[in-house]
Subunit: 327 residues, 2 copies
Amino acid sequence: MKKLINDVSNVLTESLDGFVAAHGDIITLGAEHKFVQRRVLKPGKVALLSGGGSGHEPLHAGFVGHGMLDAACPGQVFTSPTPDQMIAAAEAVDTGAGVLFIVKNYEGDVMNFDMAREMAGRDIETVITDDDVAVENSLYTTGRRGVAGTLVVEKVVGAAAEQGADLRALKQLGDRVNRATRSMGVALTSCTVPAAGKPTFDMGPTEMEMGVGIHGEPGRRRVALRSADEIAEEMVAAIAGDLKAKGNALFFVNGFGGTPAMELYLMYNAAAAQLAKHGITPVRSLVGSYVTSLDMAGCSITVTMLDDEITKGWDAPVHTPALRWGL
Amino acid sequence: MKKLINDVSNVLTESLDGFVAAHGDIITLGAEHKFVQRRVLKPGKVALLSGGGSGHEPLHAGFVGHGMLDAACPGQVFTSPTPDQMIAAAEAVDTGAGVLFIVKNYEGDVMNFDMAREMAGRDIETVITDDDVAVENSLYTTGRRGVAGTLVVEKVVGAAAEQGADLRALKQLGDRVNRATRSMGVALTSCTVPAAGKPTFDMGPTEMEMGVGIHGEPGRRRVALRSADEIAEEMVAAIAGDLKAKGNALFFVNGFGGTPAMELYLMYNAAAAQLAKHGITPVRSLVGSYVTSLDMAGCSITVTMLDDEITKGWDAPVHTPALRWGL
């Protein structure tokens, strides 16, 4: 294993220390590294709280700030955060208007956020994201997995929260954005969890995993390495077939951590041509490594069908470590 | 070789097509893929023009837009663009106030930008960046290499150009920012050039290259894999020893393309502790993969000593595909 780390047991805390040092104008760190929160809270605004296993950076802590999340709870690598983290974070950021949990659909995360909701003694709603069309159930999941589309939910709901929407309205909006969003991923290499010290799975030099999950969990099938065009064709067909919609969309090409921008833009080009065949027109775009799987090579594509409300939420100003515009 | 590509001979053009499709609100593509330019030019402003071999994305095309570059010329992977590209780009973006070339110090780039300057028949000045302290001469370089510090030069000079500074003033400012800037890199793996199909150099599973260049060219020496703290100590000592300055700085941790955010932030933490020992205080920060070497794992660190003018230039609004704030 080759990584820029010190002791494997301190990877998360040292990385978080660097993160808050680099972005101290936007965020602060809660006690015992339990959560990252917005430096300046907005009284009367519903607090948005997310979290999950680490290793997907910048998700979620990179999306804490004006126009997106109020707090994020980082678990150990690929491990759910614990209910006491969420309870402490909710306590820190709830200014009286309630708290919305945004949770990717993995059994550990859903269970722990549910427990936190029951124990916190606050007004809390939960949006579960499950945008991955690759498989119906998976290694850590009952139902579909929540993947890169979670960013879109956090952005659009974050904008509405900033505008003063109440907790019930935000819960409805979050569910609606999730339903308008589909993703699928492909891996060319495995990731390596620091504490494990070796790749999560074996993959031959001419193989790829179609429909891979963001923890390297299996997708639809292992296939021989294909061209970008062929990969894009299958991923877009799966997404468009499931969406059953035509029209304007947000199109998001996401790198898994080990794939450079040059390949992501080439995939954007390949997939945009496929979207056109299905009557889907990208009118908003995001390209970059935002929902990662440590050092895994590969990418996912995410399509969110746009209406006026979702477009307005996407375009709204945002000021976080990883996404910033209009401010 | 595992990459998200189609035909290796079309990697650059297909990636550029995706790039302009994704960022068509900011940029347009010149004829024959010769350059990327700002969609909206500002008459009377000095035009900033950069370029170099591809494979370092988002550098330079990702920095075209308000507050940074007016145009960027992409060469083939790790190959200088040709003078006709620069001449065509200068023709497209010069609104009468002259053109500033910003060129990383590699022999091919310097020669071709020089030739373009002679042939273009315009008022052109050139800033050469050479921020890499690792080696004095290198495989493609007489003198020090221009690496990630080039981003800082483009940002600060871009801001001054936007404010109306004239060509001579911008040339002076660019040289000054370059002199205030030092970088050094480390590689854990080689990159793989698509057309070559195999890693540029061999590196054992427990080795790393200290002082690597952004084309994978050799650095100071090959050493056994070290901890992040040890790597940071050597890189910061080399930079601080060369800068011979204390005080406030911009601190930039740059990923080479195959290294995830989690490790970059851990390196930020490790290196910030070393900077403190040398009396250098990061008051501005940038962390991400901005000046890459295709899929190489590793990172560089860059320090720019700040004064009021450089700080103001860094903080100024920018709206490009890869860097955006204040707009």
